[in-house]
C-alpha cells in the first residue's frame, strides 16, 4: 500500500468514526434515549454504592466521596476505552463472517477499521455519568489540591483508559486463536471496572498481587488514588507505586500492539 493517498491512521480513524457518528445522529431522539439509557445502565453500579452507604459510614476505610472518586475514575477509564475501541471485541464475529478479508484489502489499517467499526457514540453515556460522579466527589472531598495530586488524578484517567484499551485489544487478538471466546475479555474489562470501583485491598493479598503484577488493573485507579488521597499502600508496596502508572500503561500498550500484530499474522481467513 505505497500509494501516496493513504491517510495517516488518526485521519483514517476520524474518517470512519465520523461516518458512524453522522449515522447515529440521523435519528436524534433515538440517539438521546439510547445515550441516556446507556448512562443509566452503567450508572447503576454507583447507585449500589449509594445504597450501601445508607447503612454504613465507611467502606474498608473509604468514605462516600472517596468511593465516588474510585467509581468515577474506574468508569471514566473504561468508558473512554470502550467508546474509542470497544467494538474491537466483536472481531470474532468479523472473522466468522469473513469481513476481516475486506479490512485487509482496504487502504486503511486493519486495527483502525476494527476499532472504528460500528463506532457507537451512545457509549459516551458512560464517561458522561462518570463525569457527574467525579464532580460530585471532588465537591465533597476535603483535600489540599497540590499540583502533584491534580496531575496524578488527571493523567490516571488517560493511563487507565490505555490499560483498559490494551486489555480490549489483547482480548481481540486472542480471538484470532479462538473466535468464540469474546466473553473471556469481558471478565477483565467490565469485570476489571467492577473490581477497580472498590478499594482493592478488600479482595485479599492474592488478588492485589495478581492485579499488580499479572493484569495490572490496580494501576487503573487504585494506586494513583492512594497517592492522591494520601492513603497507605497495602502489602508493603512502596508508597510511590502509583507514580509508575504511565510506565505500566506504556508497557501494556506495547504488549497489546504486539499481540494484535501476531494475531493478524496468524489470520488465515474463514476457510470454507
Amino acid at each position: 500500500m505505497g500509494s501516496p493517498q493513504v491517510l495517516a491512521w488518526p485521519a483514517q480513524y476520524w474518517l470512519l468514526i465520523r461516518m458512524w457518528i453522522r449515522s447515529s445522529l440521523a435519528y436524534p431522539t433515538s440517539f438521546v434515549l439510547m445515550t441516556v439509557g446507556f448512562a443509566l445502565i452503567t450508572g447503576l453500579d454507583f447507585v449500589a454504592v449509594l445504597l450501601m452507604f445508607s447503612h454504613i459510614e465507611s467502606f474498608a476505610g473509604f468514605g462516600l466521596a472517596e468511593m465516588a472518586l474510585l467509581y468515577a475514575t474506574a468508569a471514566m477509564s473504561l468508558g473512554i476505552a470502550d467508546l474509542a475501541l470497544g467494538e474491537i471485541e466483536r472481531v470474532g464475529n468479523r472473522i466468522r463472517s469473513g469481513e476481516v478479508d475486506v479490512w485487509l484489502v482496504r487502504p486503511a489499517g486493519a486495527f483502525v477499521q476494527a476499532a472504528a467499526d460500528n463506532f457507537a457514540l451512545r457509549r459516551i453515556g458512560k464517561p458522561l455519568q462518570a463525569t457527574v460522579v467525579l464532580v460530585g466527589a471532588l465537591v465533597h472531598l476535603d483535600l489540599d489540591w497540590t499540583a502533584a495530586r491534580v496531575v496524578v488524578l488527571a493523567t490516571s484517567m488517560v493511563t487507565g483508559a490505555l490499560i483498559f484499551g490494551s486489555i480490549f485489544v489483547l482480548g481481540a487478538a486472542f480471538q484470532f486463536v479462538t473466535n468464540d471466546a469474546a466473553e473471556v475479555a469481558n471478565a477483565f474489562t467490565y469485570g476489571g471496572q467492577q473490581l477497580t470501583q472498590y478499594p482493592l485491598a478488600i479482595f485479599g493479598r492474592e488478588v492485589v498481587l495478581a492485579v499488580t503484577f499479572v493484569v495490572p488493573l490496580a494501576f487503573v485507579n487504585y494506586y494513583p488514588l492512594l497517592f492522591v488521597l494520601d492513603k497507605p499502600v497495602p502489602l508493603g508496596m512502596p508508597s510511590w507505586i502509583g507514580l509508575l502508572t504511565p510506565l505500566v500503561a506504556a508497557a501494556m500498550t506495547a504488549i497489546a500492539v504486539t499481540a494484535w500484530r501476531a494475531g493478524l499474522r496468524r489470520y488465515r481467513s474463514t476457510g470454507s
Partner: protein, 265 residues
Amino acid sequence: MSVYWAIARRSFRRYSTYRIATASGVFTNTIFGFIFCGVFLTLWSAEPGLGGYQAADALTFVWIQQGLLMPIGLFGAATTSELGERVRSGAVAVDLYRPVSLIGWWLSADLGRAGFQLIARGGVPLLVGTLAFDLRFPSGAAQWIAVAAALLLALLVSFGIRYLVALTGFWIVDARGVEYAAIVLSLFFSGMILPLVVFPGALGEVARATPWAATLQVPADVWLGRTAHGAGLALAFQLAWMAALLTAGALLTRLATRKVVIQGG
C-alpha cells in the same frame, strides 16, 4: 403439546452448540462472582446481619445471582431479543402464519434456552463458589421442590416481561429505547446490583413488590429459606405476577396480530 416440546428441545440443542462461548461466559460469571463476594464480605463484616442476611447468605446470594443471570435473562435473553428483531424487521409475519400460538412458540424456545443455560451457566459458577466459600444449600426435599418451583416461576415472570418488551416493536418503530429501560428496571429491581433486602425504607418495600423481585430475589430467598412470610406466599407472589404478565402477553399478541392484518402483512 408435542410441538412445543419439540421446539424446547431444539432450542436447548441450539444453545448447547457453542461450547467455547459457553465456557468463556462461565469464566466471566465466576470472576464477577468472586468480585461481588469480596464486596459483600466487606459490607457484611461492617454491618453483620444487614437486611436479615448473614455473611454466608450474602455469599450464596452472589452465586445464585451469577448463576441465574443468563438462564433467567436478567440482562434480556437471546430468544426474546430475536423476537423483538423479528417484529422490527417484519419477519414475525412468518411466525404468525404457523399453526401454533406466537407466545407458546417463543415460550417453548425460551424454556429450552433457559434449561441449557441453567445447567451450564448456572451450575458451574455455583460449583466453583461452593468450592471456594461455605455456602448455604436448601435442606430437605420440600425446600428443593420449592426452589425448583421458584426457578420455573422466575423464568416465566421474566419471559412475561421480555415478551411484552419485544411486542412493543409493533407500535414503536425503534423499540431499543424500551429495551434499555427494561434492562435498567430489571437490574435495579431484581436484586442484581444489590440484594433487595438491603434497599432502605419505602424504596425496599416498592422494589420487593415489583415483578422483577420475582425473577431473582424471591428464588434466592426461597433457596436461603429467608422468605419474609414463608415459601408458600413467596411462590404465590411469583404466580400472581406470572399470571398477570402472561395474560397481558396473550392479550397484546391478539391486538398486535390485528395490527399486522390491518397493515396487510
